[in-house]
C-alpha cells in the first residue's frame, strides 16, 4: 500500500470531519435547529473514506440517504453542507434538497438519494460514460444492506457486469435496514456473495479499518480503470445511531452488540495505527480533531447567518433553460 504520510493524515482528517459533522448534525436535529430526516454516518467513516481515498476528482460516486459521509469523503465543503441542512440559499442545493439529497456534482457526486437502491442504475450510467470517454474514470456506487434487497441494485449489477463497466459496487453493511436487523432481511451472511452470481468478484472487508477498505477499493478501482469491469466490496460496518437522527430508541439494539462495535471504532483504530507508525502523535491527532471542530462551528455559524432562499426561487431549476 503506497500511502504517503500526507495522504494518511488527510484520510484521518476526513474521517474526523465526518464524525464531527454528523455528531453536530444529530444534535442540531434534536435541538430542532434543522428540519427533515437526517441520517447519520457515525461509525461508518472508514468505509466512505477508505473508498473515496482511492478516487480521483473526476471519478463519480452515487450515494444514499446516509450521504453526508460520502460527500465529505470526496472532499465536500462543510459550510455548504451545514447551509443545506439549515435549508439556506448558500447550501449545496440552495435549500431545495436537504440532508437526503445533499450532493456536489462538481465533485462527481451524483446524488445522495432518498430511494433505496436507486443510485445503482445511475452508477451504471455514469460508468458507461466513463467507459465511453476512455479517460480512465470510474464510478463507485454506495448502497446499504437494506438496499441490497431492491431490484434496482441487482438489475444494475447485471448491466454493469454484462457491459464490463468501470463500476465499483460498495455495500456498506451496517447491519440494519431502517430498523430491521440484517438477519431479518437476508438469508446470506455476506451480501458480497451475490456478486459471483452476476459475474464479478465480490469481497468482504473489515469496514472499521480504513486501510483494509482502502486496499480493497484500490484494487477494485484498478481493475475498473484497466477495463476489467465491475467489482463488489462489502464493508462490514455499524451504524452507531438510529435510522434517523441519533438515539430515539425506536427499536432498541442489543447493548452488547452496540458496545462491541463501539469498541472497534474506525477513528480510534486508525488513530492508534497512525500513532504507532509515528505518522501522528497524540498531540497532533488532537490538534486535527480540534481544528475540525473549529471548522464545524464556523460552518454552522456560516449556515445560521446565511440567507433563506427567496420564494421567487421556488420554480427555478426545474428545467435547464439552455439548449444546444
Amino acid at each position: 500500500m503506497d500511502l504517503s504520510n500526507d495522504k494518511l493524515i488527510e484520510m484521518f482528517t476526513r474521517m474526523t470531519r465526518i464524525r464531527e459533522f454528523d455528531e453536530r448534525a444529530g444534535h442540531l436535529t434534536e435541538e430542532a435547529k434543522v428540519v427533515g430526516s437526517v441520517h447519520l454516518y457515525v461509525g461508518e467513516e472508514a468505509s466512505g473514506v477508505g473508498v473515496c481515498a482511492t478516487l480521483n476528482d473526476d471519478d463519480y460516486i452515487t450515494s444514499t440517504h446516509r450521504g453526508h459521509g460520502h460527500l465529505l469523503a470526496k472532499g465536500g465543503d462543510m459550510r455548504k453542507m451545514f447551509a443545506e441542512l439549515y435549508a439556506k440559499s448558500t447550501g449545496y442545493c440552495h435549500g431545495k434538497g436537504g440532508s437526503m439529497h445533499m450532493s456536489d456534482l462538481d465533485l462527481g457526486i451524483l446524488g445522495a438519494n432518498g430511494i433505496l437502491g436507486a443510485g445503482a442504475p445511475i452508477a451504471a450510467g455514469a460508468g458507461f460514460a466513463c467507459k465511453h470517454r476512455a479517460r480512465g474514470q470510474v464510478t463507485v456506487c454506495f448502497f446499504g444492506d437494506g438496499a441490497a434487497s431492491e431490484g434496482a441494485v441487482h438489475e444494475a449489477m447485471n448491466l454493469a457486469a454484462t457491459w464490463k463497466l468501470p463500476v465499483i459496487f460498495v455495500c456498506e453493511n451496517n447491519l440494519y435496514g431502517e430498523f430491521m436487523a440484517y438477519s431479518s432481511q437476508h438469508a446470506i451472511d455476506d451480501v458480497s456473495d451475490i456478486a459471483q452470481g452476476y459475474g464479478m468478484p465480490g469481497v468482504a472487508v473489515d469496514g472499521q479499518d480504513v486501510l483494509a477498505v482502502y486496499e480493497a477499493a484500490f484494487e477494485a478501482v484498478g481493475r475498473a480503470r484497466r477495463g476489467d469491469g465491475p467489482s463488489f466490496i462489502e464493508t462490514k460496518t455499524y451504524r452507531y445511531y438510529d435510522h434517523v437522527g441519533r438515539d430515539y430508541g425506536v427499536v432498541p439494539r442489543p447493548e452488547e452488540e452496540v458496545n462491541y462495535w463501539k469498541s472497534r471504532d474506525p477513528i480510534d483504530i486508525f488513530r492508534a495505527t497512525l500513532i504507532e507508525r509515528d505518522v501522528l502523535s497524540d498531540a497532533s491527532a488532537d490538534a486535527i480533531t480540534q481544528s475540525v471542530r473549529d471548522e464545524v462551528e464556523a460552518a454552522i455559524k456560516f449556515a445560521e447567518e446565511s440567507p433563506e432562499p427567496e420564494v421567487s426561487a421556488l420554480l427555478e431549476d426545474v428545467y435547464t433553460e439552455v439548449t444546444a
Partner: protein
Amino acid sequence: MADQKRKGKKFWAAIAEAQSHAMDADPDIFVAGQDIEMGALWSTARGLRERFGPERVRNTPLSETAMAGLAVGAAVAGMRPIVEIMFIDFMACCMDQIVNQMAKMKYMFGGKAKLPLVIITHQGAGTGQAGQHSQSLEAWFAHIPGLKVVMPSDPYDAGGLMASAIWDDNPVIFITNKRLLGLRGDVPDEPYRVPLGKAAVKREGTDVSVVATGRLVQEALKAADELAGRGVSVEVVDPRTLSPLDSETIINSVRKTGRAVVAQEAVRFCGYGAELAAQIADEAFDYLDAPIKRIGAPFSPVPFAPTLEAAWIKGKGDIIAAIEEIVPVGAPA
C-alpha cells in the same frame, strides 16, 4: 391510391433519421435499449447500428430500471443518451428512475445537474396485445415536474420533435403511438426541428375545436373531413408537446370557436384530456357556448379480443358523435 400511400417517409423512419443526424453531429449521443442493435422493435433505430457501430448503439439487458438509470447516470456525466423502453407499459418497471431520479435531480441538487436525455417509448391499443402491452400512460409523466413529454401525431412532427428532444438539456419522454409508426408523410432529408412546447393547428376551422393528442389527431382530421361535407368547420389542435403545454394556442382556438372536444386514446378518467378540459373550463369559460366534451377510453384494462378492443378504442366515430352533441350538424352527406 397505392402510390399515394407510398408517398413520403414513414413515421419510424423520420425518428431514426433524426437520431442519425444528431449522432453525426455529437459523438456523445448514444442509443440503448432492447433489440436496439437490430433497429429497435418498432424500427425507430433502423440503420443506426450499421452507421454508428456497437459502442454507440447498444442492446441492454432486460431491465427497464437499469436502462433508465443508465440514461440518468450517463447524461449527468455529460453524455446525451437516447434510451428506448419498448412499451410504455414497461415504464411501470422504472418509474422510480424516471420520476424520483431523472425528473428531480436538477432541482434537488441546486440546479447543477443537466440531463439531456430522451426516453423513447411506444403506446396504444389496437394491436391485439391485451392489458399489459396496450396502455396509454402519458398523463403520468405530464404530472411530473422536471420531465418534458412529447407525443407526435405525424412523421414530420416525429422527426422534428425527436431532434428537439435530443438537443434539449432536459429529460424528454418521447411517446409514439404504435399504430402511427407506419404512417407516411413529408419529411425533409436534412436536419430540422419542431420546437418543444409549441402546439400546432393541424386544420383550421370555426365551429368547434378538437384538441386531440397522438393518434387521435389523425382521427380528428378524418372526422373534420367528414364533417366538412356536412357543413361543420372543425379546427384540429395538436398540442404535440404535452408538457410544457402550449395552453395559449389551445385557449385561443376555443375562444374562437366557442366549443371544445378533447380527444385522447388513453383511459378517460384522470387522463391528459382532463387537464386540457380543466384549463379550457377555467381560461376560456366566458367564450364557451357548450359543455366541453371529452373522449377517452372506458374504465377498463385493454381487452384482448379484437371486437372488444375495437369497442374499447376511441376514434373518428366518437369524435363525430361528440361534436354532434354540441354543434348543430347536418345530416350525413
